[in-house]
């Protein structure tokens, strides 16, 4: 216990040191270049940029770090067995677990990204957010309760219930680690970029700081600490969103009709839609560009891609290992049910509030400024908070912005901790204890293995995150959902509901679903295709040269653009994508529409070819148990 406290104190001081030295490094180091480039860019277009008050922000970060480390100390003293470490000994209540699921699920991308999409593209951003909630209907109706009743610590436990455990656990661990790594890398890189943008902490420091905290939470506090970090985060997130929403709504006199009329009549939004989104140099006669912002089609143009993404969300959320794992922390199926319903209300309310924040920032801040500060719109909420706070009192603007930065920070910590725990559980519980040790390892050895694995997984996540700084990671979240929906979900559902399902089906479904998803993303438009980039640059060159030949004098900015486009063309004209392709082979960004049916078919066909009488006979036990919960309490103590 004293050793834990010492290590925690060490991590805390490390965090403080990193944060307090950050400003100097950011000014001196090469990492500062990006931040200042962003600042310069923002300055060129508009006078606005996000500038968090460093003292208040870091003070709030320290408060969050102190509270969560307090939780870790408390949780560490209660983490003695593997049941404590992986499943918080099944003692989390339905309500607590509901908040924890919401905290596990809503990433910084939900908090900052969706509001940003709405502020830049209007209605389509809102439509995009819907699938993230509807996904929970699948979790509620199909997987939550059976998983609670049939599982123990990991997805591998459910799948190996009546099958040949070694190959099944190995395949389950591979797909769990794949999903977690993709998701975790996207989160880590996002965290680094965000901290850099918000308070100027350099990328490597930010990732190392987040990584150190996440390792401390998981290694010492296991599931108990992770759960409470997620609950605290969900509370902070909902508080932040609600406060900001009240301020936005107050501007429209708490009248939704007035609010949307403000959107449709806002001159800057009209201008933005006309010039930036629809590229109409001269306004079309009688066309209502403001109203257009509230209509579909400004961002999501390909219906098939949206259907494909929708399938990945609706089926993938229910196959996410870190979400499945949350159902092992509650004592009964009833508590699992209650927790999903509570999570649905929290998550749904959050997305509805996000709509108001997104449209609210479009009205109050303007899409032009939001885009100038960050092309993805990620700073919309931050700019809104700063502006609305400043209108009341300058201190309040700083305070609100600092609070939202702290919320984003807590959000990142909660999500990455859940992912590290899920990946570690798959490696230590499925691979080490059940495959290498054949299930024969005593409690102290198991829990040591769990802690060492978490440490390694966390460390590797930091290294991958730093290595991926300049990589395009946006597609990794889509990839994680694709693997979860095409690999994991089919075999979980078929294991629980189909008598004839068996080992061959599970292994084939997991591996083929995973490989096909990854393969399709590798040849999809998510990747960078130099020849496509070159063609785009060539267009700019042609346009500007034509203009010049026509006798027009190019502005300084256009001349610079021409030089840049020419260089870009030269650099890319002979290149191919990392898969050696000239252009995407698969037309959609989201592979779900193909990979999900392939995953299901592979699982079914292999199960039918390699029938197993023994596994079919064992179905009765699994089916009775998953429906009735008989034997659950005993299974936990086992």
């Amino acid at each position: 216990m004293r050793r834990f406290a010492l290590l925690i104190a060490l991590a805390l001081s490390l965090g403080v040191v990193i944060m307090s030295f950050a400003p100097n490094v950011s000014l001196a180091g090469p990492e500062g270049a990006l931040a200042s480039a962003i600042t310069a860019q923002a300055k060129a277009a508009t006078p606005t940029k996000v500038e968090a008050n460093r003292t208040i922000t870091i003070a709030m970060f320290l408060v969050i770090i102190a509270i969560t480390l307090g939780v870790v100390v408390w949780a560490a003293s209660r983490t003695k067995t593997t049941a404590d470490f992986y499943a918080a000994r099944g003692a989390i209540t339905g309500t607590q677990n509901g908040w924890a699921i919401a905290g596990d699920y809503m990433s910084a991308a939900s908090f900052l990204g969706i509001a940003g999409l709405i502020s830049l593209y209007g209605y389509d951003g809102f439509m995009y957010s819907v699938g993230w909630l509807v996904a929970y209907v699948t979790v509620l109706l199909i997987v939550a309760e059976p998983c609670r009743n049939a599982g123990k610590f990991t997805m591998g436990d459910i799948l190996s219930f009546r099958s040949n455990p070694k190959p099944v656990r190995a395949a389950a661990a591979i797909s769990t680690v794949a999903v977690s790594t993709f998701y975790l890398t996207a989160q880590m890189v996002g965290a680094g970029k965000l901290m850099e943008l918000l308070i100027g902490i350099p990328f490597k420091f930010a990732i190392s700081g987040v990584g150190a905290l996440m390792i401390v939470y998981v290694v010492f506090g296991g599931m108990i600490a992770t759960t409470w970090v997620q609950i605290i985060k969900a509370g902070l997130l909902m508080t932040g969103a609600t406060v900001l929403c009240v301020m936005v709504a107050a501007k429209a006199g708490f009248n939704p009709v007035q609010f949307f009329s403000d959107v449709a009549t806002n001159p800057q939004i009209k201008d933005w839609v006309q010039i930036q989104l629809l590229k109409d140099a001269i306004p079309k006669e009688g066309f209502d560009y403001g109203q257009r912002f509230l209509e579909p089609g400004l961002l999501l143009k390909d219906v098939w891609d949206q259907i494909s993404l929708g399938m990945a969300l609706v089926l993938g959320t229910a196959g996410m290992p870190h979400i499945l794992m949350r159902f092992f922390t509650v004592p009964t199926a009833q508590a699992a049910r209650k927790s999903v319903i509570i999570a649905m209300f929290i998550i749904g309310t959050f997305y509805i509030l996000t709509t108001l924040l997104g449209f609210g920032s479009a009205i109050n801040v303007s899409p032009q400024i939001i885009y100038a500060v960050d092309k993805g719109g990620n700073m919309a909420n931050m700019l809104l908070a700063q502006m609305l706070g400043n209108q009341i009192a300058p201190f309040l603007g700083d305070f609100l912005l600092a609070f939202l930065c702290a919320v984003a920070f807590a959000t990142i910590l909660a999500v990455v901790s859940g992912l590290v725990l899920a990946a570690s559980a798959a490696i230590s519980h499925d691979i080490y204890v059940n495959i290498i040790k054949g299930g024969h390892a005593d409690q102290s050895e198991q829990i040591r293995a769990a802690r060492i694995t978490s440490l390694i997984v966390g460390f590797v996540a930091v290294v991958i995150g730093i290595a991926a700084e300049r990589q395009n990671v946006a597609h990794l979240v889509a990839l994680a959902f694709a693997v979860a929906s095409s690999g994991n979900l089919p075999v979980v559902v078929l294991s629980l509901f189909w008598r004839r399902f068996n080992t061959a089906g599970i292994v084939a479904g997991l591996l083929i679903g995973t490989i096909v998803s990854i393969g399709l993303v590798l040849v999809s438009p998510n990747m960078i295709y130099p020849k496509v980039v070159a063609a785009g640059a060539q267009k700019i060159v042609t346009a500007l040269e034509t203009k010049e030949k026509g006798g027009a004098v190019l502005t300084e900015q256009e001349k610079a653009e021409l030089v840049k486009a020419k260089a870009q063309y030269q650099e890319n004209k002979d290149g191919t994508s990392s898969m050696g392709l000239d252009k995407p082979w698969f037309p959609l960004k989201n592979p779900g529409i193909v990979s999900i049916p392939v995953g299901f078919l592979a699982a079914i066909i292999f199960a039918l070819i390699f029938r197993s009488k023994k596994e079919e006979d064992a179905f009765d036990e699994l089916y009775v148990r998953q429906n009735t919960g008989v034997g659950v309490a005993k299974a936990i103590q086992h």
Partner: protein, 104 residues
């Protein structure tokens, strides 16, 4: 699993268990399909009938916005309805089965 071996096949053949199985399957998959179809109407509708989505209903608020918003309420309604159905039907039947067979 180190515990008393139940005769699982016999429980699975118990008429009460078969009733639980049938009613749960119908309810869960039925409502899941409803929810999924309702959800996919959103992207399909936005792509295929943008004109319909653009019809103004109250002030500048249009069909598209209300339809997207309704997705949240439909999901919540299914969740609440399921919770009440489960308490009334499946939990009750399951408890009756457990008592009848003395499974606890």
């Amino acid at each position: 699993m180190a515990q008393k071996q139940e005769d699982w096949a016999a429980i699975a053949r118990n008429p009460k268990f078969i009733e639980i199985h049938k009613r749960k399957t119908a309810f869960l998959f039925g409502w899941w399909i409803f929810s999924t179809v309702y959800y996919f109407l959103l992207p399909i509708g936005a792509g295929a009938a943008p004109g319909f989505f653009s019809i103004k209903v109250i002030g500048t608020i249009n069909v598209g916005y209300l339809f997207a918003l309704s997705q949240f309420f439909v999901s919540w309604a299914i969740a609440i309805y399921y919770a009440s159905w489960a308490t009334r039907v499946s939990d009750r039947l399951t408890n009756e089965l457990i008592d009848e067979l003395k499974l606890r």
